[in-house]
């Protein structure tokens, strides 16, 4: 009886789901290779942050990334959520030099950082940051894990699996095949374009008009190496960065930091830790949220069950 309406709405619902999923997958589908999927402690209904890993990630950030990237939305006091003691936080804050003021004499002055200060930025402004990095601006990292589709997986892939020294041969071959195909399609489009232009040219010549002969497009060479990708000067290859050329040289090297907890600092380890840390900086309330969600949904399920029983009871005499 109601099939028509139900079918129509089912189609609508499917569309809603699929179109919503589309933007997220667009990058993987249209512009590059698919991202690998890693396991994260914060995934799932009971997900929580792996404190030790996030702390190590903080260490990597402070030792490596903070030289170029700011972290505007995190204050030293926030580190209490990661399990640092008040004294540890004070000590970390004190390492920063903060410009404060004006004082009673109207002068700005420098002082050691205090827990309520935000993480200091490495450059006074965006222009200075870009200038120091060959024209490319290192973006603020506070929200990075939410500002890229599939954030944590993307960050780990970018830092730990994407650079020339790290990338697997299989991934490389995938990229080469993809690029070869892309160039071939582009070439075919150009060729078609060229043929129409050639016709126009020949017509003009026949009519005695002045015309320049169009040049045929060059046949594309298959992409067989990273050099064949033709990345601009100063860019490093990265399999997961859109366009494959990133203005950030590989930032992580084995033993680039010495972990306070003694964990061996492999690139993979550091990349995982920094991705965990960046997820925390982007979504510091994740644990509160997931914890509250369980309670809310359990309550609602029981409450809705009671309402359903009430509904059945009230409606029992309606035929």
């Amino acid at each position: 009886m109601r099939k028509g309406l139900i079918f129509g709405l089912a189609a609508l619902a499917a569309a809603a789901g699929a179109t919503v999923a589309a933007p997220g997958t667009a990058r993987a589908a249209g512009e590059g290779i698919p991202l690998p999927s890693f396991e994260w402690s914060f995934d799932g209904i009971f997900g929580t942050y792996d404190r030790a890993s996030v702390q190590r990630g903080l260490q990597v950030y402070r030792a490596v990334c903070a030289g170029c990237h700011s972290m505007d939305y995190i204050a030293f006091r926030n580190l209490a959520e990661l399990g640092y003691s008040e004294d540890e936080i004070k000590a970390m804050a004190a390492e920063a030099i903060v410009i404060d003021g004006p004082n009673d004499e109207g002068e700005m002055f420098e002082r050691a950082g205090l827990p309520f200060d935000y993480f200091p930025a490495p450059f006074p402004n965006d222009r200075a940051a870009a200038f120091a990095n060959g024209g490319a601006l290192p973006p603020d990292l506070s929200l990075m894990a939410k500002a890229r589709a599939n954030g944590p997986n993307y960050l780990l892939a970018l830092m730990g699996h994407g650079y020339e020294d790290q990338v697997s041969d299989e991934t490389l071959q995938q990229i080469f095949a993809l690029e070869t195909e892309k160039r071939q399609t582009q070439y075919e489009a150009n060729l078609e374009n060229y043929e129409t232009m050639l016709e126009v040219y020949e017509e003009r010549v026949e009519a005695g008009e002045e015309a320049t002969r169009p040049t045929p497009p060059e046949e594309p060479q298959p992409v067989e190496s990273i050099e064949d990708l033709g990345l601009s000067e100063g860019l490093s290859f990265n399999a997961y960065f859109p366009g494959y050329g990133i203005a950030m040289a590989m930032p992580l090297f084995d033993d680039g930091v010495e972990y306070a907890d003694g964990t061996p600092a492999t690139v993979e380890q550091m990349a995982t830790d920094v991705a965990n840390f960046l997820m925390w900086t982007a979504e510091p309330k994740l644990e509160d949220r997931k914890g509250m969600g369980i309670k809310v949904i359990l309550f609602l399920l029981v409450f809705t069950g009671i309402l359903y029983a009430a509904k059945r009871k009230v409606w029992a005499d309606v035929h």
């Binding site: 009886m1 109601r2 028509g4 309406l5 079918f7 129509g8 709405l9 189609a11 609508l12 499917a14 569309a15 809603a16 699929a18 179109t19 919503v20 589309a22 933007p23 997220g24 667009a26 512009e31 209904i45 505007d72 939305y73 926030n78 973006p139 506070s142 929200l143 939410k146 500002a147 890229r148 589709a149 954030g151 859109p242 982007a282 510091p284 309330k285 509160d288 949220r289 997931k290 509250m292 969600g293 809310v296 949904i297 609602l300 399920l301 409450f303 809705t304 309402l307 359903y308 009430a310 509904k311 009230v314 409606w315 309606v318």
Partner: protein, 434 residues
């Protein structure tokens, strides 16, 4: 007002001076008779109303912390997420509430389309609904600009630029909308003012909408009028408890998204602060605008007098007209579908076309998410054509050529399952004019 009885002296005292209790009783109480056969599709009206309240409550609370300035908007939203007590909850509820508002209202609208709820005597009720839809779209669009992320900024730019397609006055109108020569601080400020205002305008129109509803009561899945008390049950307790159960079920799904997938329906780029100098790779509106966005971009050709090269409507303007036309046809729908039978249950051919329309809108949605080129452009164009064909040609023709199944005589005595047979009830007859 008759019917409302009480022995409570306080209530009597108030009721005598301000008859609010009998008013409530007639609106959502035992004094409001409703058809006894309403299905769960009739839950979505009250769900829409409750979602509107949720949006207003969370919105007002966030407005106390939000700063409508291009230099501070993004940051102030992050402060709400991080430093305001339960600010993350407020924001995620408001953000996802908008998505669910549209899901609920779209189901509500398709319910109306299928059961012919737009037909006499409910034309004005339907048209007020379309006004609500338009207001919702304007509100959602301007709300999306407020966090001042990349998609906020570029979405605002693309959509406001549409108005430049209007002949002669277009560019002037755009500057007037912006309050300057680009999307900038004045734009953000006025969008905030309007985003705060419009939901209360919606409340006003919803009151009119419900007022009109109560004039003749709800339509129902069979689509025939109630013939007397045997066909109705009092709104309270029957539909109050049913709506409450529906609300519970809705909140379970809503909470699952708010607490476990809060950013699933959003776009990652909106966590990047707005940057007028860097255009995102793909500017995609929120999903609930996609079908309309597809229609907008489907018109890629100028419309003019054939063979003369005279252009009457440029492609850009044509797209804008088509997009607004897609909603305008809904306004006149009661006069396009002249079939005397309301419910799609008794209209076998209409039902097929209804399913086609639903698929068509879905296709438009997909096309809206893709770059307007190649196959997807073609799909968008065919779907746009069918959308208008459905309302402007198919429905008027069906009203003439379709033979509806026999209607039951009344709600309380629905005739033989399947509707056929010698004993079938009264033949379809035009409904009374009101």
């Amino acid at each position: 007002m008759s019917g409302f009885q009480t022995n409570n002296t306080v209530i009597k005292w108030i009721e005598h001076r301000l008859p609010i209790f009998s008013f409530l009783d007639h609106s959502v109480g035992s004094g409001y008779p409703s058809p006894k056969n309403l299905s769960y599709f009739w839950n979505f009206g009250s769900l829409a109303g409750i979602t509107l309240v949720i949006m207003i409550v969370t919105g007002v609370l966030m407005a106390m912390q939000y700063t409508a300035h291009v230099d501070h908007a993004f940051e102030s939203v992050e402060r709400i997420m991080r430093d305001v007590n339960y600010g993350w909850l407020l924001r995620y509820v408001h953000m996802n509430g908008a998505h669910f508002f549209f899901i609920v209202v779209y189901i509500h609208i398709f319910r109306g389309l299928y059961y012919g709820s737009y037909k006499a005597p409910r034309e004005l009720l339907w048209m007020l609904g379309v006004v609500i839809l338009l207001l919702m779209m304007a509100t959602a669009f301007m709300g999306y600009v407020l966090p001042w992320g990349q998609m906020s900024f570029w979405g605002a730019k693309v959509i406001t630029n549409l108005f430049s397609a209007i002949p002669f006055f277009g560019d002037g109108i755009v500057v007037w909308l912006w309050g300057g020569f680009s999307v900038d601080n004045p734009t953000l400020n006025r969008f905030f003012a309007l985003h705060y205002l419009l939901p209360f305008v919606i409340v006003g129109v919803v009151i009119l909408h419900i007022w009109a509803l109560h004039r003749f009561g709800s339509n129902n899945p069979i689509g025939i009028d109630t013939k007397g008390p045997q066909d109705t049950i009092p709104f309270h307790p029957y539909y109050t408890v049913k709506d409450a159960f529906g609300l519970g079920a809705f909140l379970v799904v809503f909470s699952a998204v708010v607490f476990y997938l809060p950013n699933y329906m959003g776009h990652a780029d909106n966590y990047i602060p707005a940057n007028p100098l860097s255009t995102p790779a793909h500017i995609v509106p929120e999903w609930y605008f996609l079908p309309f966005y597809a229609i907008l971009r489907a018109i890629t050709f100028d419309i003019g007098i054939p063979f003369t090269g005279v252009v009457i409507i440029e492609a850009k303007l044509g797209g804008v007209i088509a997009m607004f036309g897609a909603i305008a046809v809904l306004f006149v729908l009661p006069w396009l579908d002249r079939s005397p039978v309301r419910s799609g249950r008794f209209r076998p051919i209409f039902r097929l076309f209804f399913v086609l329309l639903a698929i068509d809108v879905v296709l438009l949605g997909f096309a809206g998410a893709k770059p307007a080129e190649g196959l997807w452009l073609l799909i968008a164009q065919v779907s746009t054509a069918y959308y208008f064909l459905h309302f402007l040609v198919v429905l008027p023709l069906l009203s003439v050529f379709e033979t509806p199944k026999p209607l039951p005589t009344s709600i309380s005595e629905p005739v033989l399952k399947g509707g056929g047979g010698a004993m079938a009830g009264a033949p379809a007859k035009p409904m009374e004019k009101a």
